[in-house]
Symmetry: D2
C-alpha cells in the first residue's frame, strides 16, 4: 500500500482523496491545507490527520507520495519539500507559473530520483485518448495544423476560484490545450510564440487578469498551432467549459468538441450535462481519477509517468512565452 | 476468485473474456462455442480449455458463473443448464425471444436461487447513468412521454451477424431502448403495445426480417412511449448505430444522443469516433465491461443484480408484444 | 394588382400583411378581426379599412383573394364566404379540425372553381425544400420509413395562444409533420393510424388538451411513419420548437433538425437563434412569406397551388384519425 | 433597366448571370471571359454577346454596371476600365491581392464617382445577418474577442480552382472572415497583425501556396481577433467548407457554425446538405444573389453600397499584412 498525503484540499484535493480511497494499492494517510476550515472538513470527511503545514505533515507522517493540488502559483514549496525527502508526487498543472521555479523543481526531482507526474489530465480523457491513438496509428498522417479553444464561463474566475487574480486563463486553462499539442507531436519542439490578451471585463470587476488570450505557437518542423482561451463566457452557457480541438494532418483531420457530452437537460435552465467520467458502479472514472490511478501504478511498478518534470517544464516555458508575448507585443522565443 | 465460463465466443464473448482477465476477483476458466474455428481461436488466445458443448464444459469444469453470449434465440439451453447446476450467469439481451421460454428460464432461476443478470448494458453507459440519476433525483419531475430511436447501419444484419434472419431490429436493438424506459419508470407497468414493421430491403436481400419497426407502448399510469428502430441505415453513416432518447417530464426534459461522441474524423471516410468506453490505462471501461464487473461483484458480495430474470421476462414480453402487434395489425396486451 | 383581405390579425395575419406589402403584384386592401383591439392596431398599422365581420368586408371591398389566419377551428365560415363570392384564398393549416367541415369546404372550393391553398409552409422552408429535391431526384431510393418529431415549449399553449384548449399539439403541430410525409410520398396513401395521447400537465393547468401525442401511420405501399408531438417542453429550451425528421430510403437516408439553426447566443439566457428566413435587404424571406408569394403567383398566373383543398382534406382526415385513435385506443382507418 | 456586363464566366459569373435574369430591374447585356470555351458556353446559355476582351465589351455595349468575377489577382484591369467609363461595378472579394493596386482602384472609383461594391457576401448570409443584428442591438455588449475559422477541403485548391497557386487560403477565404469582424466592429480599426503559414501538403502537390494560415489581429480599442484558415481538409468532410465564428462580448456571446446546415444525407457518401440559400419558388435566395440584388438597388436608387472601396481596401490591407507577417515572422502594422 502506497501511503499518500494530499496538499490542498479544495475541489481537486477532495476528488483525489476520494479516488485514493477507491484504489486498492493506495492509502490516504494525511491531508494538508492552509485554510483551517477546509482542513477541518477534510479531516472529518476522510478520518486522517490534517496539517496546516506541508513540512510538518512530511515530518510527522511516513508518506510514500504526495498529491499537490495547491493554487497554480504555489507548487514550488511542496514540490521541493517532497524532493528533499524522496517522496514521489503528482502535481497539478501548470507545473509552475514561473520558468525559473520550474527549472529548480525539475532539478530537484532529477536529483532526488523520484517519480514526478504533472496532472495533464486530458491525457486520460477518453476523447483525447481516442485522438492520440488515431494520430499515433498514422490515421491522419503528419500533423500540419492544430487549432484549439478552451474557455470557461465567468463563474470560474469570479466564483469558483479565490485566487484568479494570481492566475489567468493562460495559466489556468491553456496548459491543458498546449499539453495535448505537445503530446500529439512529440517529435517537434515549440520554438516561437506570439500572443495577445484582452483585459477589460475582469479588470473592471477588480480581478486584474486577462479576459481572453489568443496565441500562435510555431514548431521546429515548420508547423504551427493556435490556442485561444477566455474566462468570461456568460454563465448561461450550457456547460461551464468549452473545449474544442482541430487537428489537420496531411491525410486526415480530427475534431474534438467537449462542449456537448451527449446529454442535454432543460428545466429551470438549459444545460449540457457533464457525462465524461460519470461514476459507474460507484467507481470514479473521470480523467483526474484515471490519472491518479496511473500515478499510483507508476509508483507501485516503478514505471515512467506519462508527463514528468520535463513535460511540465516545457509546458511552463510555452505558456510563459505566451504571457511574455502578450505583454511585449512581440513574438517570443521559447 | 470466481471461476467463469463463457458460452459463445463471438465479438461479445471475446470482450467479456478480456474483461474477466482484468477483473481481480474473477478468472476465466473455460470457453465454449459451437463453431470449431471460433473455439480454437479463443482457446489459443485465452489459454483455457474450450468446449463445443456447454453441457460438457459444465460437467468437466467447476464453474461458479457463466457468461452467455449466444445468438438472441439460443439462450434457453445454457440458461437451463446453468440453473440445473446452480451456476450463476449473466446472459445477453434479449433474455429470450420467446415469452414461454423466458418464463421457463425465470422459473428455473428462481428455483435454483442463483444470480441471473440480463445484459442491459446501457444501464452502465455513462450518458444513461447520468439520465437515470437526473430522473431519480426528481430533476424533470414525473415522466410524461418517452421517445426513443435505436438504429444500426445495414452492415449489422448483412455482414456482422450471421444469424440476422432469426432475429430482427426488434429483438436485437429494441431491448436496449425499452429497458431504459422500464428502468426509468420502475413504478409504472407497460400494458399495451401497437407496432408496425416494414419488410422490403432486407427481405429483398434474402434476409427475411424487418427493415424497421415503429411502436407505441402504453403504461398503466396513463403515459406512453414510442420506440422506433431500423436495421437498414446506409453504411456511410458516420457511426454504426444511432441511439437517441427523449424524456419529457412535467418539470423538465432530457435528451440523449449517442450518434456523435465528441470526436469526428475525416480521412478515407468521415466518421464519428466511438469514444464511450475508450480503454484508459489499458483498462476496459466500456458499458459491457462495467456491467460484467458489476455482475462479478454481485456474485462475490451476494447482492442483487440490477436487471434480473424479472426484468428480462418483462422486457421479452414487451418486445414480443411489439412483434405480435406488427404481425396482427392490432394493439396487443402485454 | 391582386387585392387581398386578411381574416385574423394575430401574429400570422400581421406577418402576411407585411409580406403582401412587399409583393409587387399584390395589395393589402382590408383586414378583419373579431377582436376590436387587434383590428384597431392593424387598421392603423396598415392604413386600410378594418372589419369586425368577414362577410361585411367581402361585401364592401372588391377583393380578389383572402388570407385566412383564424384559429385552427374557425376556418369554415370565411372559407365558405370566400367560395360563395369566387374569392381565392390561402388558409392556415390545418385546413379544418373536422373532416365533415373539410369536405364541405373542399366541395365549395371545387364548385366555385377558385384557387385554394392550405398553408403548409414547410414546403417553402429551405431544409425541407432540399429534402424534397433529394427525394424526388431519387437520391435515397424508395422511402421505407419516416419518423418525425415536432414539439413546442409550453409557452405556446399557455402564453402565445389564447385558444389552445380548442386545439391540441395534434391539430396545431402535427399537420406540419404529416404534410411533409404526404408531400414526400405522393404515390402512397395513408390508410391506418394508431395514436396515444397523454393528458396531465396542461390539464392540470386548466387547459384541457393533450400534453403529447404519439402516432403511427401506415401507408398502402406497406411502409409506415411515426409522428410524435408535445406541447409541454420546458421554456428553457433554446428554441421554442423542436422539429426533427428522419427519412430512411432503400438506398440512402435524410435527417433534418431545425432545433439548431447555426447560431447560438448566450446572454441572460442561452438560446438557439432562429435564422431560417431572417430578412435580407429588408425582404421577408421566411417560409410563410415565400408561401404567400407563391400563392400570389398562382392567382396571378392561374397555376395550381402546391397544396390545395385535396391535400388539406387528406391532412385533416389523417390528423382526425390520430385524434380518434388516441380517444378509442384502437387503430383507426383513414 | 440597368444594363449589366459580367467579367469572368466561371461558377460565380454564371450564378450572377442567373441572378440578374431574375431581377426585375436589371438586364444581362453582355458577358466576357478570356477562355473561349467558357465564353462560348455563356453566350449560348444567356443569349447575349460575348467578348474575350473587357475593353471591347465596354466599347461596344452601353453598360450601366459590371460584375467583376475574375480570379483574385485579376481585378485591377476591369475595375480601372469601368472607372474610366463611369460604369458602376460589383467586384469579387478580395478587392485586390495588392495594397498598391487596391489604393489605385479606390482612387479611380472616387474620381469617377461610381458605385463600387466589394462582394463580401456573408453580409447577406442569414446567420451572419442575425449576428450583426444581435451585436448592433447591444445584445452581447462590447465585443471583447473574436475567433473565426474558415476552411475548405482540398478539393477547392486542387480541383475547383485553376489558379490556386496565384492565391492562398489567406486571399481566397480569410477576406470573408476578416470582413465579418470589421463589419461587426465598425468603431475599431485593426492596427497590428501576426500570422504564420504552413507550406507542406499543397506545395508537395506542385501548388505553391499555404496549406493553412493562423493569424491574430489587434484593434485600436485593445481587443483582438484570431483567424485561422486551411485549404487541405480531407475531401471526405461532410461539407466543402467549415466556417465557424465565436464572438465574445462583455455581456453575452454568439456562436456561428455553418458546417452543419440542418440537413444530413447518407447514401454513397455522408454529407451535410448545403441548405443556406436553397432556391424557393425558383427564386435564387443565396447570399451572393441577395448581394447582387442589393447592388442593383444601390445603382437604381443611388444609395451607398454596404461595402465600398474603403472597406475593400481596408480588408486588403489586413489580409496583406497577414501574408507579410507569415513571410517575415514578425508582427506587422496595417
Amino acid at each position: 500500500m502506497i501511503k499518500f498525503g494530499i496538499v490542498g484540499m479544495g475541489l481537486r484535493g477532495n476528488l483525489f482523496a476520494d479516488t485514493l480511497r477507491q484504489n486498492p494499492h493506495a492509502e490516504l494517510a494525511a491531508v494538508s491545507d492552509a485554510f483551517p476550515a477546509a482542513l477541518e472538513r477534510s479531516r472529518e470527511k476522510y478520518g486522517v490527520p490534517g496539517y496546516a503545514d506541508v513540512k510538518e505533515m512530511l515530518d510527522k507522517e511516513r508518506l510514500d507520495a504526495l498529491v499537490i493540488a495547491t493554487p497554480d502559483f504555489l507548487h514550488r514549496e511542496p514540490v521541493l519539500l517532497a524532493a528533499e525527502r524522496g517522496v514521489h508526487f503528482m502535481v497539478e498543472k501548470p507545473f509552475s507559473t514561473s520558468v525559473e521555479e520550474a527549472e529548480e523543481m525539475r532539478e530537484a526531482v532529477n536529483r532526488a530520483g523520484i517519480k514526478c507526474m504533472v496532472a495533464f489530465e486530458n491525457r486520460w480523457n477518453s476523447p483525447f485518448v481516442a485522438v492520440k491513438e488515431a494520430v499515433s496509428g498514422g490515421e491522419i498522417g503528419d500533423i500540419l495544423t492544430i487549432n484549439a479553444r478552451l474557455n470557461d464561463t465567468i463563474y470560474v474566475p469570479t466564483k469558483m476560484l479565490k485566487w484568479s487574480t494570481g492566475s489567468s486563463p493562460g495559466w489556468f486553462l491553456l496548459p491543458h490545450a498546449t499539453d495535448i499539442a505537445l503530446w500529439l507531436k512529440p517529435e517537434a519542439s515549440p520554438v516561437r510564440v506570439y500572443a495577445v490578451g484582452t483585459k477589460k471585463k475582469l479588470a473592471g470587476m477588480g480581478i486584474d487578469t486577462y479576459d481572453s488570450i489568443q496565441s500562435v505557437v510555431s514548431f521546429d518542423d515548420g508547423t504551427h498551432a493556435a490556442f485561444t482561451t477566455s474566462w468570461v463566457l456568460p454563465e448561461s452557457m450550457p456547460l461551464i467549459y468549452d473545449f474544442k480541438y482541430e487537428i489537420i494532418g496531411d491525410s486526415g483531420a480530427l475534431y474534438v468538441d467537449l462542449a456537448d457530452q451527449m446529454v442535454r437537460q432543460a428545466g429551470g435552465v438549459y444545460r449540457h450535462v457533464h457525462t465524461l467520467g460519470t461514476p459507474i458502479n460507484g467507481q470514479l472514472t473521470s480523467a483526474p481519477s484515471c490519472m491518479l490511478n496511473a500515478f499510483v501504478n507508476h509508483v507501485r511498478l516503478d514505471t515512467a509517468p506519462e508527463a514528468g518534470a520535463d513535460a511540465g517544464l516545457l509546458n511552463t516555458k510555452l505558456v510563459d512565452a505566451i504571457h511574455r508575448s502578450a505583454a511585449s507585443g512581440h513574438a517570443e522565443k521559447i
